[in-house]
Symmetry: none
Subunit: 211 residues, 4 copies
Amino acid sequence: MDTRKKVGTNIKNKDLVNRKRKQIIDGAIKAFIAKGFHKSTVKDIANIAGLSMGTLYNYINTKEDILYLVYDYMTNILTEEMERAMSGIEDPKERLRAALKQNANTIYKYQDIVRLLYRESASHDRSTLHTVLSRETEYIELFECLLRNCIDAQHIDEDHLKLAADILAYMPVILPLRSWSLKRRFASMENAKDLFIEHLNKEIEFILKKI
Amino acid sequence: MDTRKKVGTNIKNKDLVNRKRKQIIDGAIKAFIAKGFHKSTVKDIANIAGLSMGTLYNYINTKEDILYLVYDYMTNILTEEMERAMSGIEDPKERLRAALKQNANTIYKYQDIVRLLYRESASHDRSTLHTVLSRETEYIELFECLLRNCIDAQHIDEDHLKLAADILAYMPVILPLRSWSLKRRFASMENAKDLFIEHLNKEIEFILKKI
Amino acid sequence: MDTRKKVGTNIKNKDLVNRKRKQIIDGAIKAFIAKGFHKSTVKDIANIAGLSMGTLYNYINTKEDILYLVYDYMTNILTEEMERAMSGIEDPKERLRAALKQNANTIYKYQDIVRLLYRESASHDRSTLHTVLSRETEYIELFECLLRNCIDAQHIDEDHLKLAADILAYMPVILPLRSWSLKRRFASMENAKDLFIEHLNKEIEFILKKI
Amino acid sequence: MDTRKKVGTNIKNKDLVNRKRKQIIDGAIKAFIAKGFHKSTVKDIANIAGLSMGTLYNYINTKEDILYLVYDYMTNILTEEMERAMSGIEDPKERLRAALKQNANTIYKYQDIVRLLYRESASHDRSTLHTVLSRETEYIELFECLLRNCIDAQHIDEDHLKLAADILAYMPVILPLRSWSLKRRFASMENAKDLFIEHLNKEIEFILKKI
DNA sequence: TATGAATGAGTCTTCATTCAT
DNA sequence: GATGAATGAAGACTCATTCAT
């Protein structure tokens, strides 16, 4: 599975590429959050990123590349934060707990970006979309693996295990996707998030029993 | 709260408006599923709907109106199907079960449209977005009401009740939003859906205990 | 010179045609004054006139016909009012005075329409434009004739006579064309008009001497 | 009073903006004279100006901006030519004479543009129209000032002074607005213009006496 | 490498006119 | 004669991408 995609550039200096791309990503996130992908023009993005159009296009090939850079950036954060949260923990159940909690927290912290990426998932071109979906599956399988380690191998019901992984990985996305109603129905978004993590903890217990 | 929006038209004959709009909705759904909202031109939509551009514009004011018509259509289906599923059932718990099951089944049946509407939710103009989000909240409150009837009034923890409603209403959306990975990770989408509904049933039990 | 133009119609009944056309003219004037010729749609005009589009088009062939109907209506008023004002007056100088005064007063009274017709004079189609300009010349020649009767035939300087006619016919158009600044620079438009007519009277004297 | 309007542009290089706008103005004048403002498409204008549509739109925001650019161009010419004509002249009456003569000559020289601007004055958007009318008033006040200097302050009748300014500023517009009939009624347009200026000279004398 | 002006295909929307009922 | 729905050509404007400097 090809779960990475190379974005083309004219520039030789790798370091420079990384620095400028970070600038592009930051600008794009601001632009996309403000206006969405389609309503943000490449010029908007360049302006917010503090680059000229020509320079911007030295580091990408198409507007869609920018969306992918943001996607890649966010996915890396999610993965890294989760690994950081689990590092040093040995107990499988504790690892699972730590991973899920961190996952929810990261999604909450970056909710604007996550919401954006979900909404704009149809804006990737066909080949990028494949990469994105593959990477999503990879991410779910990570939870599947964590779950598997918590259960006696003989008793595993594969289907239930997979569904559990899917559901656990997916649920925190409620925070960005329903933030509007959550904000209105709870004291604050923070409050909703805390209640949700509390619920998630019980859910883990419940789910492990059912597999 | 204004949870409906009137779409403007030049046409006086109300019946005709309804008939033609159904045609527009059907065409738009096909077009949007094939290419997404932005990549579908108004001409595409008109052609697929079997109308001329001029005629199409006699029944709407802007391209975004078309998206709203689709949204309205789908929301009505969800509500009506749910009401149909509960009709005749008295027991609160059975009503809840029936509603949730039907909700999941409808979302599954119309997964292409639901996925579409989630993805294009950023394409509504500001005022329409407000309508859409208000209506979503209204929908969640419906589940809140169903849950409330299952629980002894004295023991209700309002926050947990609300969160439960949010989660239950939201969970089936996993079917359209993660269909790609579900398809790949399970025998079939149908299979994933059945497993999911099975899980949902247990989840109800679990959640009712926790409130 | 063809100083009239026939506007086509499907309708046989002449009386009906006249009645409906008056309705169209009234509606069109309201529409044109409010939005100008180009920004008024045929539908606007039909609505204001209290007709359906289909009916409207039974009495005209093109949108430009409507403008011509208004033009024709206004030109007839100008001519008739002037004739009425002169009727019974024998003395050439008095006839001239009466004509010029009435001309200014009519232009003032219908300033919105006159302004409109001047502004939209480029909107007539080529052949209609010819009619309009011919009719304008005819109108100026009317003043030429009135002037001629005031002067001893032997002393007439043809060029000065013609210029005098042009200027006298043209000057009152200052009222609609500069109404904006006149309103701001004088106590009222009415006041500006009175001053103007006063000036015109002296001007006649002055001009007659110079010819 | 805000008698200038800034037209928006994407281009940073001010010099370039001025050069390209002159090109646009020249092209627009040709197009508008040939077909009028409404019948000239933006593409027509761009083509005649030797620009691509995209480039054209880098120097303006709307089609109406083009009309305003032409208006601004013509108004500047009128003002500058008049100032040039008066420069070095001290005697108030001679200054007035020089100004009025130059005004008539400039209007005659640019009669196509002046006619155009009068006809299309309704095509400006609301806020631009205000600018245009304010600037017109400013222009009239210039004549008012010149007249005032010719008269003994004690004897000034303000109303007559203002009306005189209005009339003198307005009269030469007869040349473009009635050019069609003037051409037909006089040996040539040139001839009509000369007769008109001769008349204007006598008119000045007459008017100064009456104030 | 950086810049920003140039490009023109592509899109939404309008509206004068026609025509079936 | 009256109605109003249907039509589609036409036009203003946008914007991703390129390229000369």
